[in-house]
């Protein structure tokens, strides 16, 4: 096992949990990325003035990405090529967008914020989407890896 990757993983996780926790302590909000970003598509939310902080949060994510590009570009998918081609990539994006809104959360909202609160819904959703993702990777291995 790669000890460095494990330590960087742990350190990254601490930053993720601490920043998500800060959003709760300071703003009283759950740091679910699909919910925050998806809320930008809701006209009535935007009309009620609930859009600005969402936009600013996403700007923060992108600013963080730019900082990574300067400091640690290896962490970004600069050379990324979709394993299964463009059609699969678009299908994946549609499923991630639709699924996270339908299921009210993604890896951050259910996985981090929900599970550490021992939320019943998140404790069901998180193992389920991880298991389904594992099965998907398993099922597509012969197609994408040719093995």
């Amino acid at each position: 096992m790669d000890l460095n990757a494990a330590l960087y993983g742990l350190a990254g996780g601490v930053l993720i949990g601490a920043s998500a926790g800060a959003l709760l302590v300071f703003n009283g909000r759950i740091a679910g990325i699909s919910g925050i970003y998806g809320g930008l598509l809701n006209k009535s939310r935007l009309a009620s003035g609930d859009g600005t902080w969402r936009l600013v949060f996403v700007a923060g994510l992108i600013a963080g990405g730019l900082l990574l590009r300067l400091l640690h570009p290896e962490s970004l998918p600069i050379e990324y090529e979709a394993e299964g081609g463009w059609a699969i990539l678009i299908l994946a994006g549609l499923l991630v967008g639709f699924g996270t809104r339908l299921g009210s959360g993604c890896t951050s909202g259910h996985g981090v914020c929900g599970m550490s609160r021992l939320s019943r819904r998140s404790l069901v959703a998180t193992p389920l989407f991880i298991a389904v993702a594992m099965l998907t990777v398993l099922a597509t291995a012969p197609l994408f890896v040719g093995g």
């Binding site: 350190a11 009283g28 962490s75 678009i90 699924g99 339908l102």
Partner: protein
């Protein structure tokens, strides 16, 4: 002039209201930034690392446990913050803790988790790392985000249509 007030109490509370909203936005920006740095340090912004964790039979490369360590670090910190938030009772820059209270396991939760799982497994991207990775300047990431946004919009449109249909059906004699 109508709408303006010279009452010092009213203008003071208005000033503190807009100051609180400014602080909330600064906090949201800082949280987004640190969150993205965390994802990057853990390399969760590399779809190959995520796929490496999901690939339990190591069909592509040796199994990569990094994502599990990320979750351990994140869950521990968030659990602490959650206790702190509950202890305070009121957030620093706002009036209410907006914590989800639902406990029902419904078909939407299950169906949504399944669809998300398929999309995550197909690409190695979930919403946070995808948005953070926009800065990679890779066209494929932008295409993924466009498709993800379309999927979210589609859910909203379908949801509104279903609600309208249900309301119409309920109103019928």
């Amino acid at each position: 002039m109508f709408g303006e007030s010279n009452d010092p109490a009213t203008s003071a509370s208005f000033a503190s209201l807009s100051r609180a909203s400014l602080y909330r936005n600064i906090a949201a920006f800082a949280v987004g930034l640190v969150f993205a740095l965390g994802l990057g340090i853990a390399e969760m912004t590399q779809p190959a690392r995520v796929i490496g964790f999901l690939d339990i039979t190591a069909s592509r490369a040796a199994w990569d446990p990094t994502l599990a360590f990320v979750m351990i670090g994140a869950l521990a910190m968030y659990a602490l913050a959650y206790r702190l938030a509950l202890g305070r009772g009121v957030p620093v820059f706002s009036q209410i803790l907006e914590i989800p209270t639902r406990r029902d396991i419904d078909r939407r939760l299950i169906g949504g988790a399944v669809l998300f799982g398929v999309g995550w497994g197909l690409s190695g991207f979930c919403p946070g790392p995808a948005l953070t990775s926009l800065s990679a300047g890779n066209g494929a990431v932008a295409v993924f985000i466009a498709a993800m946004t379309a999927g979210m919009w589609l859910h909203g449109a379908l949801d509104r249509t279903l609600v309208r249909t249900a309301t119409a059906a309920g109103a019928a004699p």
